[in-house]
Symmetry: C2
Subunit: 200 residues, 2 copies
Amino acid sequence: MAAQLRADARDNRERIVEVARVMFARDGLDVPIREIARRASVGPATVYRHFPTKEALLTAAFADEMALCSDIVEEGLAVCDPWDGFAFVIARLLEVHALNRGFSRAFTSEPAGLGAERDRSLRGMLELIRRAKDAGALRADFVLEDAILVLMANEGIRADSPQQQAAASRRFAALMLQSFRPDPGGAPLPPPVRLPLAAR
Amino acid sequence: MAAQLRADARDNRERIVEVARVMFARDGLDVPIREIARRASVGPATVYRHFPTKEALLTAAFADEMALCSDIVEEGLAVCDPWDGFAFVIARLLEVHALNRGFSRAFTSEPAGLGAERDRSLRGMLELIRRAKDAGALRADFVLEDAILVLMANEGIRADSPQQQAAASRRFAALMLQSFRPDPGGAPLPPPVRLPLAAR
């Protein structure tokens, strides 16, 4: 009986996460908890028992995407050439984020509810930025906020299909990467802006 | 009596346009007509009598912004140096669009309902692009879609206040402009993507 209850609870939890994953990805982060509960055929109280906050639910719903981002950053850090590693990470992150608007919005929001894993990714990004600057391959006035700016901007791109979305993001990423190169003759950039994102 | 009726109709029309302008700017283009009618204290039928389609309402609501964009393009075309003219237009359009998400979404959507005025702006953009390329100041593989891509991307940027939004857009514009410069040593860009936008 207790085992059955535990199995039911586990099934409920999995169903809630699955529904949340689909709804956040499709409709963004404003989906009401009661709507997620309804589609998962549970009461709102059951959702809150498993996930006391929306952040907890976001973390569970986007665990795979967040892990993928961390892997991408790790892979970039393992590349010998600092610019190649940095460029690989920017291009891949934009591609992954382009196909999941809800995840991208969570990643670039504060509080994101993606917790320690996102912080780890951002620390990896900072290291990639440092190395690429030291190599003289990345403009000296580049800051982490510029990477967030580009991820946000990527969210604004709309195309007619996931394939076109990914293709548009690839072109956008290639353009952005050129803009991140040192520009000795260029005018200084306007100052960076503190964006709604906490972790450093 | 007839004059009074005409005056009432004119007042209704102005109120509808004013409400639509505020709601589209704040909530995007998905605001239901019945909601606009309710806030303007008229029936939906009155809205439809003045504006048979949502496109007609968009055109009226964003007439000022659209005229401003046309003026910006005209001003850019009057600049002697082709790159300076092009860069001025990109930077100013991003600034204007950053402060009105609803207008920006309408401008980059199909059908936009911004009609002949938008088409005129886009034709002006094409001329700016042609001149800047002829001067060797703009990368040869730049296409009009890239300008639309950047306007869309600009919509994705979120900051905590209109001032920060404008500042973030300025930095973004400066980065994008560097990316539009010829890049003799660079790899070719991934191909452009047909974006949801009609007029040529």
